[in-house]
C-alpha cells in the first residue's frame, strides 16, 4: 500500500545542503521546456498552429515598446504586493487578504485625490500616496489586531475583509463619490494632474509606480538579508519554538508582517489608480491580491525572485490576451495553459532544493 503513491520507487529526493545556484537557473528552463511541449500538444489538439500560438504567448508581447511597457505596468502591482506577502509568509503569517488592502489603498488614496481635486500643489501627489499606503496598512492592521488580541485566525479574517473592502469601494463609487457630471454612472471624477503619478515614457502607461516596485524589491532584499528584523522573521518561520526561546515576540512579528504587506498592497492600490487608471471604478483590481500570492511563492519568497515571478505572471496574462486577439484562442484555453505553466514552474522548483538520487546509489553510499 505504501508504495502505491511513490511513482518512482527507485528514486528519492535528497535535500541539498544549500540552494543550488545552477538549478536556480535551470529549473525554470526545464519548466518552460515542459510547458512548451504541452503547449504544442494542447494547441495542436485544438486545431491551432502551435508554434504561432507559443510565439504570440511568450515572444510577441516583448517585440514592441508598447508590449514591454504594458508588461511592466501589469507586473508592478504583482511585485509590490508579492514582496510584502513574501515577508509575511516567511514568518508564517498568512495574509491572504491583499486584495482588500489593495482596494483600501485605492479608496483612501483615491478619496484624498478627489478631496484635493481643486488643489493645485505638488504636495497633492505625496499626500495621496501616503494616505493610500496608510489605507492598506490600516486594512492589514485589522487582522493583525484580531490575531494578536483575540487569537482569530488571520486566513479567515483577512479573506473576509477583502470582500468587505471591495463592497465599500462599490458603495462609494455607486453613491457618494460618483462624478457629479457623470449621469449617476458608477465612476468617480478623473483625478487632476496633480494627483497623478508621472509617466516615465511618453505615450505609454509606464509610471513612477514601477520605480516604487523596483525600490521596494531592493529595500526588502536588504531588510531580509542584512537586518536583525529580517533574521527574526526568517527564524520565526523556520523554527517557531526556537524563536520563542530566543525571545522574539511573535505578536510583534505578526504586526510587522501585516503592516508591511498591507502597506505595500495599499501602495500598489493607489499606484494603480493614480498611475494607470486615473479615477476610481467599482472594481480596481483584476484579482491582483490573489495572483500576488502565487507570485510570492513562485519567487521563492525572495524579493528578487518575486520580481521575476511577477514578470512571468504578467507576461502570461498579456500573452493570453494577445493569443485571444491574434489566433482566436478562447480565454478558457489561456487560463488552462497558464495553470499548466504554473504547475511546471512549481514542480520543477523542487530541483533547487532537492537532488534526485537513485535509491541503490544512496544505499551504497550509506554503507561506506
Amino acid at each position: 500500500m505504501s508504495q502505491i503513491f511513490q511513482f518512482f520507487p527507485k528514486f528519492v529526493l535528497e535535500p541539498r545542503l544549500e540552494v543550488s545556484g545552477k538549478w536556480v537557473i535551470l529549473s525554470p528552463i526545464i519548466a518552460i521546456i515542459l510547458t512548451l511541449f504541452s503547449g504544442v500538444i494542447i494547441f495542436s489538439l485544438l486545431g491551432k498552429d502551435p508554434f504561432l500560438a507559443l510565439y504570440t504567448f511568450f515572444v510577441q508581447p516583448l517585440t514592441t515598446m508598447f508590449g514591454i511597457t504594458e508588461l511592466l505596468v501589469k507586473a508592478t502591482p504583482l511585485v509590490l504586493i508579492g514582496v510584502g506577502l513574501a515577508i509575511g509568509f516567511k514568518a508564517n503569517v498568512w495574509n491572504i487578504g491583499a486584495e482588500g488592502q489593495f482596494t483600501m489603498g485605492a479608496v483612501f488614496g483615491g478619496g484624498t485625490a478627489l478631496l484635493c481635486q481643486h488643489t493645485e500643489s505638488i504636495l497633492v501627489l505625496p499626500l495621496v500616496l501616503v494616505l493610500g499606503t496608510l489605507g492598506g496598512l490600516f486594512w492589514g492592521a485589522i487582522p493583525a489586531f484580531l490575531k494578536t488580541r483575540f487569537n482569530a485566525n488571520e486566513i479567515l479574517t483577512s479573506l473576509m475583509l477583502s470582500y468587505v473592502a471591495v463592497l465599500c469601494l462599490s458603495y462609494l463609487v455607486h453613491g457618494p463619490w460618483r462624478d457629479p457630471a457623470g449621469f449617476n454612472f458608477p465612476e468617480s471624477q478623473i483625478f487632476s494632474d496633480y494627483a497623478m503619478l508621472p509617466i516615465l515614457i511618453e505615450n505609454s502607461r509606464l509610471n513612477l509606480g514601477t520605480m516604487f516596485a523596483i525600490l521596494v524589491v531592493l529595500v526588502a532584499w536588504i531588510l531580509m538579508t542584512r537586518t536583525i528584523i529580517g533574521f527574526q522573521l526568517r527564524v520565526v518561520g523556520l523554527a517557531p519554538t526556537a524563536a520563542q526561546y530566543a525571545g522574539f515576540k511573535q505578536s510583534g512579528l505578526i504586526w510587522l508582517s501585516f503592516l508591511i504587506s498591507g502597506g505595500l498592497a495599499g501602495l500598489a492600490g493607489i499606484a494603480e489608480v493614480s498611475g494607470t487608471i486615473g479615477q476610481l471604478l467599482p472594481s480596481v483590481s483584476p484579482g491582483y491580491g490573489f495572483t500576488a500570492i502565487i507570485v510570492a511563492f513562485l519567487g521563492r519568497l525572495h524579493p528578487v525572485g518575486v520580481l521575476f515571478a511577477g514578470l512571468i505572471m504578467a507576461l502570461s496574462y498579456i500573452g493570453g490576451e494577445n493569443a485571444q486577439i491574434e489566433i482566436g484562442l478562447p480565454a478558457a484555453v489561456t487560463g488552462l495553459f497558464q495553470g499548466i505553466l504554473l504547475f511546471f514552474l512549481l514542480a520543477c522548483d523542487v530541483l533547487v532544493r532537492y537532488r534526485l538520487s537513485h535509491r541503490s546509489v544512496l544505499a551504497s553510499e550509506r554503507r561506506e
Binding site: 528519492v12 487569537n151 511563492f297 495553470g339
Partner: protein
C-alpha cells in the same frame, strides 16, 4: 411570513459550502492545504452537468462530478506530495486551471436547461405538516452533506485511521517514525477533498441552479476554505459556520425585500462581517484552538529513507 420556505432556502444555500468544507477539513487535518477548492468545484460542476445532460441520470452525474473533482485533486496531490511543490501556490494555480478547464468543456453546454434531479422524497413522510417538509423535502445531496460531515467528525475523532490521519497532520516526522505512510494518508486525504469539492460543484449545477455558466461557483470555494478555519478544524463548528453564513446571506436578501433604508452593499457585507465577529468570539481559548489546528499544515514531507 412563513418561516419554513426561508429555512429551506438557507439549507440549499449552505449545502455546497458544507460539502466542500467537509472535504477540505479532512485534507487539512492530514496536513495539506489545498486552496484549489474553487477550481475543483467548477470542474465537478461542469462534469456533472455534462453527464446529466447527455445521460439523463442524476446519480451518474453526481458520481462523475465527484470523481472529476478527484481527478483534478490528483494533479494537486502529485505536484505537492510527490514533487513537493509549494501547496499554497499550487492550490491557487489549480483554481486558475480549473476555471479554464471547466469553461473549455462547458462552452458547448451554455444555454442548455436541465430538469432538476428526481428528489429523494419519502412521499408519505414529507406530507407531515412542517416537520415532514423540513426533514424529508430535500434532495440526495442535502442528506449526504449532513451524513458526510457527521462521518468526517466521527472518523477524525473516534476511529483509528482518523487518529493516524491526524497524527500525520500533526507531525509527519513522528507519524513516519511510527511506521505510518505519510504519503499514502495525504494522497487519500487530498483525493477525498477533491471528491467532496466535486460533489459541491455537482450540487450547484444539478440542484441549486440547474444550468451551466462559466465561473458559476462565484467564490463559494473560497468561503468553504474560510469555513474550515472558522470551524477551527472541528466538524460541528464547520457545519455551524456553513449554516451561519448561508442563513445571513439569505436573511439579508429578505431584509432588502422588505424595503430597508440601508445601502445594499452593506447588507451584502453582513455574512463576511458576521463570520469574522463570531470567529473572534470563539477564538478566545488559545490552547484549545492550537490543539485542533494541524501543526504541519502546508509543509512538504519528504520521506527520509
Amino acid at each position: 411570513m412563513d418561516a419554513l420556505p426561508v429555512v429551506l432556502t438557507i439549507i440549499t444555500a449552505s449545502t455546497p459550502l458544507l460539502l466542500a468544507a467537509t472535504g477540505e477539513l479532512v485534507t487539512e487535518k492530514a496536513g495539506v492545504l489545498n486552496l484549489g477548492v474553487e477550481g475543483m468545484m467548477l470542474v465537478g460542476a461542469i462534469a456533472a452537468f455534462a453527464t446529466a445532460v447527455s445521460t439523463g441520470s442524476g446519480l451518474l452525474a453526481i458520481l462523475v462530478g465527484a470523481f472529476s473533482g478527484v481527478a483534478v485533486a490528483a494533479i494537486f496531490a502529485i505536484l505537492t506530495l510527490t514533487f513537493l511543490a509549494n501547496q499554497v501556490a499550487t492550490g491557487l494555480a489549480l483554481t486558475i486551471f480549473g476555471v479554464g478547464l471547466s469553461a473549455l468543456i462547458g462552452s458547448s453546454f451554455v444555454g442548455i436547461s436541465l430538469e432538476p434531479l428526481p428528489q429523494l422524497n419519502v412521499e408519505f413522510l414529507s406530507t407531515i405538516p412542517i416537520l415532514g417538509e423540513l426533514l424529508f423535502g430535500h434532495d440526495v445531496l442535502v442528506y449526504l452533506s449532513f451524513i458526510m460531515i457527521l462521518l468526517a467528525g466521527y472518523f477524525l475523532s473516534k476511529t483509528r485511521p482518523g487518529l493516524i490521519l491526524r497524527a500525520v497532520g500533526e507531525s509527519h516526522d513522528s507519524a513516519h517514525a511510527l511506521g505510518y505512510s505519510v504519503l499514502t494518508v495525504r494522497y487519500l486525504a487530498v483525493l477525498f477533498g477533491g471528491f467532496m469539492s466535486g460533489l459541491a460543484g455537482s450540487y450547484l449545477s444539478l440542484v441549486y441552479t440547474p444550468l451551466w455558466a462559466e465561473n458559476m461557483t462565484a467564490g463559494r470555494g473560497w468561503i468553504a476554505l474560510a469555513l474550515v478555519v472558522f470551524g477551527t478544524w472541528r466538524a460541528g463548528r464547520i457545519a455551524f459556520g456553513a449554516y451561519l453564513f448561508g442563513a445571513i446571506t439569505i436573511l439579508q436578501l429578505h431584509v432588502q425585500g422588505w424595503g430597508i433604508n440601508i445601502a445594499s452593499q452593506f447588507m451584502t457585507m453582513l455574512p463576511y462581517i458576521a463570520t469574522v465577529v463570531v470567529l473572534v468570539l470563539i477564538s478566545q481559548d488559545r490552547t484549545k484552538i492550537k490543539m485542533n489546528a494541524p501543526q504541519s499544515i502546508g509543509k512538504a514531507f519528504r520521506p527520509a529513507k
